[in-house]
Symmetry: none
Amino acid sequence: MAQEITPRQAAVLNFIAESIEKLGFPPTIQEIGQRFGIVSTNGVFDHLKTLERKGFIERSSKARSIRLTPKAAAGLVRRHADALPLIGRVAAGYPLLAMENIEEYIPVAPRLARKNAFCLRVTGDSMIDAHILEGDIIVVDRDRRPATKDIVVALVEEEATVKYYYPQNGFVELRPANAALQPMIFPAEEVSVQGVVISLQRDLGTASAPAF
Amino acid sequence: MAQEITPRQAAVLNFIAESIEKLGFPPTIQEIGQRFGIVSTNGVFDHLKTLERKGFIERSSKARSIRLTPKAAAGLVRRHADALPLIGRVAAGYPLLAMENIEEYIPVAPRLARKNAFCLRVTGDSMIDAHILEGDIIVVDRDRRPATKDIVVALVEEEATVKYYYPQNGFVELRPANAALQPMIFPAEEVSVQGVVISLQRDLGTASAPAF
DNA sequence: TGTGTTGCTGAACGTTATTTCAGTATAGCG
DNA sequence: CGCTATACTGAAATAACGTTCAGCAACACA
């Protein structure tokens, strides 16, 4: 009585999840059969009984009454919460997404949630001329390859910083957006780019106009 | 042929949304009937036809094939609601949260979603020195009473603008955060403050450092 | 060589669900 | 007052859906 899911069963489970996501409701037994070329409704019925026995779905005798259990999510390609983790600190030699390191989850647009990304709270005003302020929460895409002039999160000497990215021959220039600060140049191997900043959120609850 | 939703129709719509959220799939006509004590399936069927005609749902002839449209969310009591409506235009004499006026829903922190608030896309760079840029999406709290120096959304001469708020004796000064622009003073009765800006979101997908 | 699991066919049955048709009652509008 | 929209009843037809029973083939295992 193997508790693992077979490839065939996973395919069925996946189709159910897709149907729920795209149509808004689960498929019927007949619809599953059509998708997989299973002529007899009982062929599908067997799959559903097995998936239920193994704890991936729950169902009743009513039409389209399949529900995915939390366990099912693990067997699926990807399940989105439309939220990204807010990382406490970015440090070398430490798994970025370790659970102890996640302070909370930040709701973001589904488009962003689908990415391999995380959130970070900005410290300091080195990017103020790019209109990124201390306290802003930035969304960092880990998969996007940084291009010149991109705003990136980079790890230098155990310290995470947000800067404009200017790669050079064997070196990397990290340029602040603040006239009071100087660009810094490091050997490429001393800089580890964690991702590209693709979005930000700011709280203005107590913001006021500057005195004049 | 009123395009507005009646209380009865809203109740049915709400039950459908609840069913989807709690059970994972939409109710059948019979289930809706049981919930509301409607004996004849045709009683419910009429409701569904009306809801479809008014654009709140989409359905096919298959079992449980009701889908909620984006428009439906507006008619609901405030569902899942960790999201705020993005308003297309702010105009005088026009209900701000009219359903036709909601472009989409923006996911926000639960703390913000609980407020009586809406989202707006910023046009122009009059607040650039406050680090609010064209294209940014701002969250506007309708219940917060504006204090001096708050950033507010104000309606002046049929036009919605984002400015610093400086009330004076019988007049209101709206001050931009842009050295190139002049403050403007209006009689208080000509300015209608829609709310206070409490948060913003920005998309940097294509952002780059300025040429130097 | 038997035993169990997976993955089906095929047929039949009963129930659930949707749709249509013919009406009824009430309320608001001009 | 007639007209329209809302909100239903009641009955009946049909299509969709779930369930059960009997049985087969391939494979792993022991």
